[in-house]
Symmetry: C2
Subunit: 381 residues, 2 copies
């Protein structure tokens, strides 16, 4: 690790944050040399950790835990005490924005998130307020600053948000969905209505991520968890175009804060997703990393000069099947090796962040998460 | 339509079936010229039709309907009375094989299929009988023959089965699943156990499709509904290799009966799926048809001579998002045009069957299904 670190974020002096000690992940995002592969895990603060369950039990329900600054900080740090992780990620929910808009988020045991109100009519839409995120989502910003301070510069902190399309599916359906019946009905029968909703959500997501950066997030990730449910043309129109706009706005305000775009099920659309100012694309386990690198390199080669300036080569992040962690140490090591072989197959020895292809599940033995992280670091690039 | 039809099936004389009048779909599968694009819809006999609901109500529950030869025949024919479809498909359930193996299939209102017993231990596995499909699944064969007779040669009849991987997920989980927790746990921690199960199921699927062909099915489709949940390498090992073996066996026994392989979420793996003797690949709506054609053409070009003989060019089938049918007539027509433009973009004017990218949903207005089918036929190839 170099002695003087290139911090990417102008909030350090404002908050008097400690200087960053481990910038492996930020270096990989900038295609700078790294000593080993940076690694973190989506949902790394979660139910697979007994200490998380204990803190959550103290807080009461999940939302109370998100709103409790000290405990949200505590659970964010828990996995870092166990594992040699190269990033922390804000502990929060993907649905804070619709909740702040008044839809009434709640959780029933054993079921996914639900909303008391849905957005399906023009009047539903008009009732959605324009959010002042520093007001209605102040608890998130407090958590970001608190976590950043508690990290004391150990590793960079991720902020995050759901994508407009993903948030809209929850807002229209009133919760999780298998077939997105109502959202897709709007998409095909009232596309202009859905666009109004997406536009409203996109403004909120932009302000939300901007505020997280001001509060101390050093990198942000947009989760398009349900982008993969769309047709290829609809993905561009109803999801990607909004993500692209959000990234462009964030880059105007914070040119040096990296943005990761993660579309679950988006492996067929890397060329589409690369058409953005995102620094990295998150990948699920359906695409071999060598192939992802090839598609992205190929695309980069055909860009015009003007575009090349805006759209730098995309780093990649992912993509181990979280279920791999149900396997033995030997299985995990073999799968990590195969994944990293793919990531580095084309000669680039950076531009890659190891991760799972989706969140770690609650049934994983924490020791197996450690096997994963150590196997990544032990791999000789 | 030509006057003398090239029937593809040696069962015609045995059962004294009527000669086939509309062979558009079979011609497309053989890359022979067609007057217009053949079209059918997955789950075309289903809850979106009021007459289906009436017949089902008479039969009692869903399984009783499957086992009632006259009513299974009736519901298979219902969509053909309304729409100008180019194929019929056996009305049955995807889970008949595990049910016949004694797992106790049942349905609870508003929920997916469930099994009374699961297969997770060696002793569970050993208790699974080797099926004599003509005995334990005789009701399916009776339905096939009855439907084929009732069709009176109007259109060809599809038989079908779930793929071994897809059936195994239900058998291990005991029903539908979001994350395939137990199946993937086996995959990563006891792969040899999962292979034993898949092998057993693959034998049953082969015999099942073989028996359907003997009973009168003129084309068969393998539904790998959950293949897309696998990692790319696991897809090859735990799903595709079994499908490939089934297709090869069927081709030995019935060289002229076409086989369609449909993997939901398999768009990234067309090259893998093409490595089989299947005549066509079914596609969901995430992949543009022009791209699918390009990938398949490219792959074909690089085959050795020996392989080219076995692996003929693959036709494609699909891939309208079923939710498109929630849209207006104009929307449906626009989307169909765009889909068919893609299918024929590379110059081939055959080798394509229009379909949805998954089953039609219960909320579709039947008139809209008609718009879809007519739009396909009205498109000038």
């Amino acid at each position: 690790m170099s002695a003087t670190l290139n911090t990417n974020n102008d909030q350090t002096s404002k908050h008097n944050f400690a200087p960053l000690k481990n910038d492996r992940l930020l270096r990989a995002l900038r295609f700078e040399p790294v000593d080993t592969t940076p690694v973190w895990m989506m949902r790394q603060a979660g139910r697979y950790l007994p200490e998380y369950k204990a803190t959550r039990a103290e807080a009461g329900d999940f939302l109370s835990l998100c709103k409790d600054t000290a405990r949200a900080t505590e659970v964010t740090l828990q996995p870092l005490r166990r594992f040699d992780l190269d990033a922390a990620i804000l502990f929060s929910d993907i649905l804070t924005i619709p909740d702040a808009m008044g839809l009434g988020l709640y959780f029933e045991t054993g079921e996914g998130p639900k909303f008391k109100y849905t957005v399906r009519t023009q009047s539903d839409l008009e009732q959605l307020p324009v959010l002042d995120v520093n007001d209605s989502l102040d608890y998130v910003m407090r958590a970001v600053t608190s976590i950043r301070k508690a990290l004391n510069g150990d590793v960079p902190l991720f902020g995050f948000s759901g994508s407009p399309w993903t948030l809209a599916t929850y807002m229209v359906e009133g919760g999780s969905s298998k077939d997105y019946r109502y959202t897709k009905e709007l998409l095909y029968s009232k596309p202009e209505f859905l666009h109004q909703l997406l536009d409203k959500v996109a403004v909120a997501v932009t302000d939300y991520l901007d505020a997280q950066i001001h509060a101390g997030a050093q990198v942000v990730q947009i989760f398009d968890s349900w982008g993969g449910a769309l047709g290829h043309r609809q993905f561009v129109e109803f999801s990607h175009n909004y993500n692209k706009r959000i990234v462009a706005e964030l880059k105007l305000r914070h040119p040096n804060v990296p943005v990761v775009l993660f579309t679950k099920g988006g492996g067929l659309w890397l060329d589409i997703q690369a058409d953005s100012e995102a620094d990295a694309l998150g990948l699920d386990w359906t695409i071999p990393l060598e192939r992802a690198r090839r598609v992205l390199t190929e695309r980069q080669r055909h860009l015009t000069k003007t575009r090349k300036k805006l759209q730098k080569p995309k780093a990649i992040q992912g993509n181990l099947d979280p279920a791999t962690l149900y396997g033995s140490k030997a299985t995990i090591e073999r799968e990590v090796r195969s994944m990293l072989d793919g990531a580095y197959a084309l000669g680039d020895k950076t531009g890659y962040i190891a991760n799972l292809g989706h969140g770690i599940t609650q049934w994983v033995n924490p020791d197996h998460a450690k096997y994963f992280i150590d196997a990544v670091h032990n791999y000789q690039i």
